[in-house]
Symmetry: C2
Subunit: 309 residues, 2 copies
């Protein structure tokens, strides 16, 4: 592999995203922000940085935008809170870090990275994760920072409909964000961040912070980040199974991603998608929903932004 | 498979359990309680009950005993709390339920089952899980119920030693409990419950409630429950990988369990073990530590209780 080889893919959520229901202005806004995120990640890779730092840079851009269900744009729980989950995994060391149910961390993905690098643990939850983040000097904010009118209106609508839980958008979108990358050192990484489901209750945790479900990275196979119905992602260990099909059955990245999304997760009833990159810089963007906000770039190539299937 | 076929295995934790450091009295106590647990599970299977109910019956016996690090005997966190995790998975439907970081639920495994059967979710945490359990009429207790002198002394010792975290016993034991079963209907299930690590901080969550790490069940392959260093179990998706090696590589249960514990998890630096049962009623009890409290039984056979490797 050449020193200059790198690859990056991102997603900003999958779901019933239909061309006829997305205005030209909104589409342009999403495309611009996805482009920002890819550029932020690529800048790290181009400078010889690590896949970990590239995925976090890309995810941060989406966490800081109101467009996506993560960080600033996180959806509301039944109780009117914003509870976020995030995870990161390093394919070289197979170290991982994650936080679940945090309400005061401006960029949950930063806290996930710090769990990976500064504790012997993988997963910290709620107030404990926040206390740790504070000790580490990570930016905390008042929970009101995450209050946006659009998300609040979605919660009121979900409650009025009597839905037990609801997808994060009026257009049935799962809004998790994520990034996967291969860096010029040959190392893979994956990062994922989410606000979960609108109207979720009882401090529900989804697949995002669960290593093997929403996030996985292993240099020998691939780095994966998922978006979709988290309960199915967990029961079918979606991220790990893409890697396991490559490692144990010899499938290539594209075949493994297709098998997991369409034959396993999809046939069981799950809706969603995943992004994946392997050690050769191959990229797979697989979904069984009408749309997934996504972008990708390879060394020497142009950035691609896509929304519809 | 005959109507009368069933199989059950349990564990009560793995670690540096040495014959010369376990008194005859203590060994007899452990053996008696492990026998109680196997008998409780077998009674369900013998009566034609489900593998889910059998594994929960066995785990409850261990949760109610001070001998094991789960339920009543849970270890203390750095802050002097008892924070428990539990999960259950049904191999027939691949439904799963789990709770993380609960402090007031007498039998966390009961709450995990209720998450599986009475919500669309897989994982609930902390106060949210407790609120759900209360709504469901599951027994709550004052947190002082989990206060035992032995565990308190272990915490003081760990703090005095300045350990960041510590295994749950002075004898370096990981005390998670678990059970796996095949019932006479041909269905597999796995259940796991734990108090985590003595002196853990920041509301750390281990592998127990993480589907694919500490707990997994799939009729087509096997049911698995693990005990050991949770962070390694998560990073190496131990429970799922046993199943994936069977499903994707054609390994038999024993070979898959051995490969995962000794070649993958073990070589990466993890200490611990797992119990597993497949759809033919084969049982695998694999460990890379000097001991693991364990027991097993098959239809028509005698109950076996073992402690040392």
């Amino acid at each position: 592999m050449s020193e200059q080889t790198y690859a990056l893919a991102i997603h900003g959520g999958a779901g019933v995203i239909l061309r006829e229901r997305l205005s030209e202005d909104m589409e342009a806004e999403y495309r611009a922000k996805l482009l920002d995120a890819v550029e932020a990640g690529e800048a790290v890779l181009k400078a010889g940085g690590t896949s970990i730092d590239a995925t976090i840079a890309a995810v941060r851009v989406m966490e800081d935008s109101e467009l996506f269900n993560a960080g600033k744009g996180a959806v509301f729980t039944h109780e009117g809170r914003n509870e976020m989950d995030a995870a990161v995994m390093d394919g070289k060391t197979m170290d991982a870090g994650a936080v679940a149910g945090v309400t005061r961390i401006r960029n949950p993905i930063e806290a996930a990275k710090r769990v990976m690098t500064h504790t012997g643990h993988v997963l910290l939850m709620g107030e404990g994760a926040e206390e740790f983040a504070e000790e580490q000097g990570i930016a905390l904010v008042d929970p009101s920072y995450f209050h946006t009118q659009k998300r609040w209106d979605q919660l009121q609508k979900a409650i009025a409909m009597g839905a037990e839980t609801s997808l994060d958008h009026s257009d049935n979108k799962f809004g998790t964000v994520g990034a996967v990358a291969l860096d010029s050192h040959g190392n893979l990484a994956a990062a994922t961040s989410t606000g979960g489901m609108t109207n979720k209750r009882w401090r529900r945790i989804g697949d995002t912070p669960v290593i093997g479900a929403g996030t996985y990275a292993q240099n020998a196979t691939a780095a994966i980040s998922t978006t979709g119905h988290g309960e199915y992602m967990m029961r079918y260990t979606v991220a790990r199974d893409v890697c396991a099909l490559m490692e144990f059955k010899g499938l290539d990245l594209q075949a493994a991603a297709r098998e997991v999304i369409h034959e396993r997760f999809g046939k069981a009833g799950g809706d969603g998608g995943l992004i994946a990159v392997d050690a050769h810089g191959n990229i797979a963007l697989e979904l069984n929903t009408p749309g997934m906000y996504r972008g990708s770039v390879k060394a020497g190539g142009a950035i691609k932004i896509e929304i519809f299937r």
